[in-house]
């Protein structure tokens, strides 16, 4: 019964609070911005097409009157064709430029800007995660991070490919065997966020989850030293 009662609540929640569009870090906000931007541009395209589509299908439907008409032969129209070639190019440039900028921004390239960055080693294996902090402490189910401090993840896998994903903090980064991938992120709000494996990795792929707790820096220090 309790579960049934939750249905309407979940309905409302799910409508306006999609995780990817509710970013809690700069990285995720950048990505959400790109999503909104591309969605906006694309909605414009959809509208234009829909408008033409509806107009033409309604206006030129076969009726009793035009049943035997022979439409005029029409090879094409240079001007129109140029318009619908050039216009999308402009729209796409409008999307491509921010895409390039943000892709460079969110990718980890070499040195960290922040000496104070926290380094976390993440190891994926079938079917659990291991998070190892700088002092050698390890956790599995929960990843605890300090607020407002840059975190650099060093990820590697013991077996197959996994993918590390905390939707509210950043996009995915694959976790490969025999190779280290990196991801940087700075959480900006405290809270508990879902984390998942996003690359199909075998029987219990669906259960390869973890919780991400972002807490205040002071609390984080005590938590880390207590462990």
């Amino acid at each position: 019964m309790k579960k049934l009662a939750m249905i309407p609540i979940l309905l409302i929640l799910s409508g306006c609070n999609l995780r990817v569009l509710d970013p809690k870090s700069q990285t995720a906000s950048d990505q959400a911005f790109l999503i909104y931007l591309s969605f906006g541009i694309m909605m414009f395209v959809v509208l234009v097409v829909a408008l033409l589509f509806i107009t033409f299908t309604v206006k030129y439907r076969e009726t009793e009157k035009n049943r035997h008409d022979i439409p005029k032969h029409e090879e094409g129209n240079r001007t129109l064709e140029i318009i619908w070639t050039v216009f999308p190019i402009i729209l796409l440039i409008g999307l491509a430029v921010p895409t390039v900028m943000i892709t460079y921004d969110v990718s980890y390239i070499g040195a960290s800007s922040d000496d104070n960055a926290l380094h976390v080693n993440v190891t994926g294996e079938q079917f659990r995660w291991t998070f190892e902090y700088e002092n050698g402490e390890k956790t599995h189910k929960t990843l605890v991070l300090p607020k407002d401090r840059e975190v650099i993840f060093h990820l590697t896998s013991k077996d197959v490919i996994h993918s590390f994903w905390v939707p509210k903090l950043a996009g995915k980064i694959d976790v490969l065997p025999g190779e280290e991938t990196r991801l940087k992120v700075t959480p900006e709000e405290t809270g508990t966020y879902q984390g998942k494996c996003a690359e199909y990795c075998g029987t219990l792929h669906a259960d390869m989850r973890f919780e991400t707790k972002v807490i205040k820096q002071a609390e984080f220090q005590t938590w880390l030293s207590k462990k």
Binding site: M6, I7, L10, L11, S14, N17, L18, V20, Q31, A32, L34, I35, F39, M42, V46, V49, L52, F53, T57, Y60, E62, N66, D69, H73, E74, E75, G76, L80, E81, W84, T85, P88, L92, L95, T99, V100, T103, Y104, D105, I109, D159, V160, I161, S163, P167, G171, K172, I173, L176, P177, G178, E179, Q194, K196, C197, Y200, C201, G202, T203, A206
Partner: protein
């Protein structure tokens, strides 16, 4: 199901047992029904004939069969996901993984691709005034390879060994270290055999289009479906060999101890490169022929020529070309670095430009026309908005940084179902309704066709639109379970309802076919749709070698202008030799040989590999001494001596 027998725990795969039981019951019934209907001579005719229409029909029938099979898989997937923490039948964990792998692989390789090749087989020779495909014998071999590959893959489930590494078979999960057992060997061998058939079909199609066109039918006067087939064939020739080698390397990893794709010594990402160098062009292999079908249908049912023909052809070529250099957009999250990522993001976005040109050209083909809304046109009309929605999410996905959020979530699942169902499946349905009279001489019922369309289209949007939102809310793909807290229940629930609507619509198709063939109706005539292209100038169903007197073509849409001017198409004596047809059982023999060899490799039985391999080679020798052209060449020699 678990049974405790004398203190031993036995695991029974109830789904497999159910399938066996179902087959044992229905199998004899079907055989009895076929015997009673005296269908065996017809079946034998279709199994041994090299006539392009019959081969095309076999392609279509088997693809539809596989479509039902993979569709049932999809329904099981949706039943398992209908509520959070659900336990439907056996479909959790590995069984779920098997079922989505089967669904994906089968839909791509054994439904979408062969369905389009089947339609090409039926329509392309007639549209370009060719008497048959250039190599009729090879054509029969191709269809046998497809059916053999499909059946090998199909059989896996009955031996409780369905592949379970996803249709992309990402290594190292797909190597024997992590998925032991024969399961993924079925994937490798099934695709290898059918892939070879696809390559042969493409060679056949290319030579036919380049060399067998009617006099005067320049490439620039060809309808757009042959054009799309031409470019698609080229893409197949580039993409499928790469897949063949990738599968070969994977097979070495699985069976002979090499480590190409293993973590320590090899490169797991190399598999992804190879797979997507094949896989992305494959997407266009599926989409372009559908574009061609829609171009022809929209033009015919608007009673107007295609708007901007030249740019339509250029757009097809450009999409094909760009499609070869965008593969890494499937790999934005593997850490290729921002330079590679942005490069592939931009090439991907560029594809939107020619695609946009096509969409606007279709719209302007309809403008000022007379739009007759019958079933094929209805599918074409449904295609435009559906495909545009899939296309725009494609551009969203191309945006590399944003894709890191979408990647491997239900957003991607929604996107590719929008494009593939939107183009390929709707296109194939449209094509089947459109050319059905040319295949059988009968028209499918228009009213039932419309019911099929609306139920399918509404079901489709119900199924896949919510999946965008589920993906944005953090639901990864390929999970058999989710929790209440994930907040994706409603989307999944709606999705499952939609899936059953799509399933129901397919029953209407069956009913429609049954109803059409039950009546002893008179022939639909050569030109039931008031068509514009050459295929409507020959009788329905199309006879063998229909163009013994060749039509002479002087412009596009020749039939239309001939009808307007109330004249016959001008004819000439055949200007070149026609391909030689033959009735042969040799491909059947090859198919048996390859089946034996494949099972040898799947289970590692060396004697079977040798037996099957030797038999397959023997079929080459048999063929070498039984060339169907021998009598014709002998006659020619005698004629020339006189």
């Amino acid at each position: 199901m678990e049974i405790n027998l004398f203190g031993k725990l036995i695991l029974l795969p109830t789904d497999v047992i159910a399938a066996w039981v179902l087959m044992i019951i229905t199998g004899p019934l079907v055989l009895y029904w076929l015997t009673k209907k005296r269908a065996w001579p017809v079946i034998w005719d279709y199994a041994t004939s090299t006539h392009h229409r019959k081969i095309g029909t076999v392609y279509i029938i088997f693809s539809i069969l596989f479509f039902f099979r993979a569709g049932v898989d999809a329904l099981f997937i949706r039943l398992q996901l209908i509520t959070p923490e659900n336990q439907f039948w056996v479909f959790q964990g590995d069984k779920y993984n098997e079922i989505f792998t089967t669904h994906g692989t089968m839909m791509i390789f054994f439904v979408a691709t062969p369905l389009l090749i089947g339609l090409m087989n039926v329509a392309v020779p007639l549209q370009i005034g060719a008497n048959d495909l250039a190599f009729p014998y090879l054509n029969l071999v191709s269809v046998y390879l497809f059916v053999t590959g499909g059946m090998i893959f199909f059989a896996a489930f009955f031996f409780n060994a369905a592949p379970n590494a996803g249709w992309t078979a990402y290594a190292p999960l797909s190597t024997s270290t992590f998925t032991a057992g024969p399961n993924n060997n079925y994937y490798i061998l099934g695709l290898q055999v059918s892939g070879l058939g696809t390559i042969f079909a493409a060679i056949n199609m290319l030579v036919t289009i380049l060399r067998l066109r009617a006099p005067g039918l320049k490439l620039t006067r060809m309808p757009l479906f042959p054009w799309a087939s031409l470019i698609t064939s080229f893409l197949i020739l580039v993409a499928f060999p790469v897949l063949a080698i990738a599968l070969l390397l994977l097979q070495f990893d699985r069976q002979f101890g090499s480590q190409f794709f293993m973590g320590e010594l090899g490169h797991p990402v190399y598999w992804q490169h190879l797979f997507w160098i094949f896989g992305h062009p494959e997407v266009y292999i599926l989409a372009l022929p559908a574009f061609g079908i829609f171009s022809d249908i929209i033009s015919a049912f608007s009673r107007k020529n295609v708007f901007g023909y030249t740019s339509m052809v250029a757009a097809l070529a450009l999409i094909g070309l760009l499609g070869l250099m965008v593969w890494a957009h499937h790999m934005f999250t593997v850490g290729l670095g921002p330079f590679a990522n942005t490069f592939f993001a931009i090439t991907t976005m560029m594809i939107a430009i020619p695609t946009g040109i096509k969409v606007f050209n279709w719209l302007f083909t309809m403008r000022k026309g007379v739009i007759r809304i019958q079933t094929p046109m209805l599918f074409a009309l449904g295609f435009i908005p559906t495909f545009v929605m899939g296309g725009v999410t494609g551009v969203m996905l191309a945006s590399a940084a944003a894709d890191m959020q979408y990647h491997d979530t239900y957003f991607v699942v929604a996107h590719f179902h929008y494009v593939i169902i939107g183009s390929t499946v709707l296109g194939s349905f449209a094509g089947i309704y459109y050319w059905y009279p040319k295949i059988t001489g009968k028209m499918l019922d228009d009213k039932l066709g419309k019911w099929h369309f609306w139920l399918f289209l509404i079901g489709f949007h119900l199924t896949f639109f919510p999946q965008h939102l589920a993906g944005l809310n953090g639901m990864p793909r390929r999970v058999y379970d989710y929790t209440w807290e994930d907040g994706v229940f409603v989307y999944n629930f709606i999705s499952s309802i939609g899936a059953f609507m799509m399933g129901a619509s397919m029953l209407i198709v069956l009913w429609n076919v049954y109803k059409t063939h039950r009546k002893k109706e008179e022939n639909a005539g050569a030109d039931p749709w008031d068509g514009r292209t050459l295929e409507w100038s020959v009788p329905s169903p199309s006879p063998e070698h229909p163009f013994e007197k060749m039509p002479v073509i002087s412009r596009r849409d020749p039939l239309w202008w001939a009808k307007l001017e109330k004249k016959e198409l001008p004819h000439t004596e055949n200007h070149r030799a026609s391909p030689v047809s033959v009735k042969t059982v040799q491909p059947m023999f090859l198919s048996v040989a390859l089946t034996i060899m494949s099972f040898g490799f799947i289970y590692g039985w060396i004697w079977m590999q040798i037996l099957g391999g030797a038999a397959a080679l023997a079929s080459f020798v048999i063929r070498a001494f039984n060339d169907e052209r021998k009598p014709a060449y002998e006659r020619e020699e005698m004629d020339n001596e006189q």
